[in-house]
């Protein structure tokens, strides 16, 4: 298998109350994991630069805001820019899209989960975190059909349980995540 074929993709989707879990996950990422990461947060325009800086301070991975046609490289965290959907192409590059909001959201977690599952199939890990709407659930379902590994924050530990609870109710979930089993998730990346 070529180097590109070996790499995995982790897509993290989160809304209200999801930042703290991401701040726990980032320090655990290792170069040997050969992992690319996309973070899709629902957020307001003004926070963009500070969010990238905040995340970059927590990991040895390079953190950047996603730009159109960025090639997905291992060891890099791509943050969805406000007001753009982020799609993953089959050649493992990113496309941006400013079309209609999905689930009242742009970026929409569904959009990234669905296109990423088309490109990565079984090499995709989807993680859906705390939030107060239902974005991401349909995307998890589609990714599950394509063989992705589905991880959802334990609703009991989420500040806003609606989003992860919807996922647990509607999609066969492979793992429930809380702060005490993060190392189990990390093992899956090696």
């Amino acid at each position: 298998m070529d180097e590109k074929g070996k790499s995995k993709l982790l897509v993290i989707g989160g809304s209200a109350g999801s930042l703290s879990m991401v701040l726990h996950i980032l320090p655990l990422l290792r170069a040997e994991m050969y992992l690319s990461v996309i973070i899709v947060f629902h957020r307001k325009q003004a926070t963009e630069d500070t969010l990238v800086d905040l995340l970059a301070g927590r990991t040895t991975y390079r953190v950047k805001e996603a730009e159109d046609k960025d090639e997905l490289l291992p060891g890099v965290v791509y943050v969805a820019p406000p007001e753009y959907h982020v799609l993953v192409e089959k050649d493992r590059s990113l496309s941006l899209d400013i079309s209609e909001k999905v689930n009242y959201s742009r970026p929409s977690i569904d959009v990234t989960f669905e296109s990423a599952s088309d490109a990565y199939g079984e090499s995709l890990i989807c993680l859906l975190l705390s939030g107060a709407n239902a974005d991401g659930v349909r995307g998890l379902w589609v990714a599950k059909q394509a063989g992705a590994f589905i991880v959802v924050q334990d609703p009991a530990s989420a500040e806003f349980p609606m989003m992860p609870q919807e996922a647990v109710d509607k999609v066969p979930v492979d793992m429930l995540l809380h702060e005490n089993n993060l190392s189990t998730l990390m093992n899956f990346f090696f």
Binding site: A66, K69, Y84, E89, D97, I98, S99, D118, A119, V142
Partner: protein, 277 residues
Amino acid sequence: MMNDPGIQLSDSQVETLLVDLIDLYGYDFTNYSRASLKRRISRLIHLDRFLSFAEFRFKVCHDKDYLQHFVEQITVNVTEMFRDVGFYRALREQVLPVLATWPMIRIWHAGCSTGEEVYSMAILLKESNLLHKSLLYATDINPSVLEKVRAGIFPLSQMKQYSENYIQSGGKRDFSSYYTAIYNSAKFDDELKTRLVLATHNLVSDGTFNEFQLILCRNVMIYFDKPLQDRALRLFYDSLEVLGYLALGTKETIKFTTVTSNFKQIDSKEKVWRKTS
């Protein structure tokens, strides 16, 4: 558990449709970003309540009115006036003062959609006292959006947001002085369209048609794959006068393309480049 969330398009179905569109109508979408395109086709099948891909394909292939609707829906027409205030500030403060030194200013809005950016530009030109010696060429693949550009009528509900954008981008006047409110619409002043030239133009297949001092193509090429982006950028290069300007969307770049060395970005933040050679 979730029920099947609608028709799942396969890659080969998308390919089939793209070949139909070329064979029957000469519309070539094969170099559009495939993930976006697939999503938009799925969305349309869902919105128009087709029961199968076969039924949808039959409609596209046999109903010319539906084809027009298809092209409108597949190409993205989301736009705003004075979107990205930093960009409009840069136009006002850095680009227009230079353009003012040319005897005649030709500007091309490539992929103009419903024209919100064209009217924003006309307002900037008017305020800089340059509108009378400018020509604004607005082109799009989609003939029906050009009718909207010609009309210059936008939803009144958007005006609060546009007015805030306008002021943040350095606008000093009362934004409402540029339009007349009629029921739920805002009709922009006819003066703003006196220098407007409208035409259909397809960045996939059409060539250069004039020489410009400024070309704007913002959030259009994000729907293209890399080879088509290169083609469009080459076309813009060929259509720009030396020292003319090219403006792209805030998350777009000309890095890693065939024209990279022919352009210089005007500052590190705004996505405006100047043709240097």
